[in-house]
Symmetry: C2
Subunit: 396 residues, 2 copies
Amino acid sequence: MGPGPINADPRVLRAMSAQLVGQYDPWMTAAMDETQVLYRQVFQTANEQTMLVDGTSRAGIEAALVSLIEPGDRVLVPIFGRFGHLLREIAERCGAEVHVIEVPWGQVFTATAIETAIASVRPKLLAVVHGDTSTTVAQPLDELGAICEREGVLFYTDVTASLAGNTFATDELGLDAVTAGLQKCLGGPSGSSPVTFSPRAASVITARRSVEAGIRSVGDAVSAHPIRSNYFDLAMIFDYWGPQRLNHHTEATTMLYGARECARLLVEEGIDEAVARHALHGGAMLAGLRGLGLEIFGDPAHKMNNVTAVVIPTGIDGDKARGAMLNDFGIEIGTSFGPLHGKVWRIGTMGYNARKDTVLTTLSALEAVLRRSGVAVTGGGGVGAAYEVYQDAGVA
Amino acid sequence: MGPGPINADPRVLRAMSAQLVGQYDPWMTAAMDETQVLYRQVFQTANEQTMLVDGTSRAGIEAALVSLIEPGDRVLVPIFGRFGHLLREIAERCGAEVHVIEVPWGQVFTATAIETAIASVRPKLLAVVHGDTSTTVAQPLDELGAICEREGVLFYTDVTASLAGNTFATDELGLDAVTAGLQKCLGGPSGSSPVTFSPRAASVITARRSVEAGIRSVGDAVSAHPIRSNYFDLAMIFDYWGPQRLNHHTEATTMLYGARECARLLVEEGIDEAVARHALHGGAMLAGLRGLGLEIFGDPAHKMNNVTAVVIPTGIDGDKARGAMLNDFGIEIGTSFGPLHGKVWRIGTMGYNARKDTVLTTLSALEAVLRRSGVAVTGGGGVGAAYEVYQDAGVA
């Protein structure tokens, strides 16, 4: 019940135990095509360039940034948590001139603040995290697409922590590049990063296209502005996933099976229904934590459905209590980073773990652990408040 | 029965269907430690810095090169097949001044040729593929360690195609950096890259160490020569796998389970025994292909045990015959790249597919397909010759 990675859906794990086939076997290339179709639905986009990057969610981030950014390009990164710092760091390593704006952790930016920064920085790219698990809040993206469109700025977001648990739609938001991971609300393991790129972003990337030396024929493209990475060269990855099927990496077959099953299950459930499920169980957890008398961290108006940060009660050892949750009850809850380290616990309700039984057992266990730590708690206050949420929703 | 990826060992797939645990759960960190111990045995090294890079085998290559190379460094790449071109390309993207020497595909270099090039180029790094599946031959590495040691050159090889199927020992060969993949003789899926670094290589890498901005405390390292990639920053990856457990990517748990099981099975079998198994079944396949009257491509003195290239008989359509193997017999065999495209088929006997039944069924099927393609074949010549190899080895 941490902030991710979380327990995977057993159906995803089962899909991942299927035998491999060769990477150009027609069954395999059909599975790749099908995965693209599924992720277009998950991302809510018509983007042709929708696929997987073979690595964890930060591999997807780096692929997007290194393929879009040329050394010297200006990039604007609004930072409201740990993963904003990560976007800045990766953009800097790509050779970008990075400008940042910051708000205290737990808050988000107004559209006006970002618009003002765009006007002053004139970046090629706006790179902003959607939901930052380190603080549990999500940056509203709904006005930013129009601003970027008007100013000729590429608009990129990372939705690893938010996708499928919170309202999100790539094309409606006017996004040019989106990256994700499986290990949060998608209910899979870390190790595959679904990504999507608008035609505008794809044209920036394919303008830098080269065909790899070992498979190059006379007349094939060699870029004057090559992408600094081979592994993350999205122009090559487009050629591998596209009808050309130009050899690049060897697709991570088992991870593809997992990513495909995550999307299949999500589309089967319905994306709106999955978001509603996260809202329900996240809401029950939130009510339960408050019912235990705990203080919630972060701007409640922008809290993600799938993760809640609670202030560790004064006078108790937060890591010792987390240890008791894990060792005595078999339930993991998270700590946080940077300014929040040792100050909050983060409790997830995401993916396969967004269920009534996990919410109620976590609240029961937490009550017991808090009591043994000497914290005054309302007996049954957590479970009771969560039950009320379920009752109001007609599911208890 | 292609040159990889191949069928995974079912025990590896079963291990990959296990439920996930959190990345700092003591069970998970113990599994990471255990994986390091196992891969030290597989690589035959005492290197502390032995771990997994979360991506396909080329992710391991890029992590090694981008972490060792600073822009402007001279790198020598002896090229004898497609993957030598890949090393060159990746080193160039890292900003290296790359010098290459080449031999025709199917041949290897003498140690003297490499020594002469080192004397003339004075590189920081020698980067050479061990076994190149594109040509099926392996570069002898046994004299190169001493040459590199004497000349103060870092010595790197990629063993993705050769490890566990051919004799190889990291420390005995004097290697500073080695990268691999699971999808060949290790019998797993693509998507995790075992790597190992000597203390000398590790010190080059850790001299460039930075602590990531989002988790940095006052006094933490910030490098003046940062590695150009965050995802492939091995100094950070060392800190994540090491006792500090500094957060970097979210370890790809399911791939870790797979990589660990590949190594566990290999150590259980015995590495020498696994190499002998590849030699036996690769030898039977080679004899069988010759028994069918086919010509073998590449220097036989340096052929890898686990893959054989045969010249496509004149007058037949190589891709059509491969299609018949796949569609009529359910057996995949490979084509090749660059100068060998359309000229040879590549047939693997590796990992879980290095077995008597797979060798004999492949030879039977190939005889049938060749006959229907109008090629004159000796009836039973393939299976008969393979049986003789097995008989001589006392296993038939």
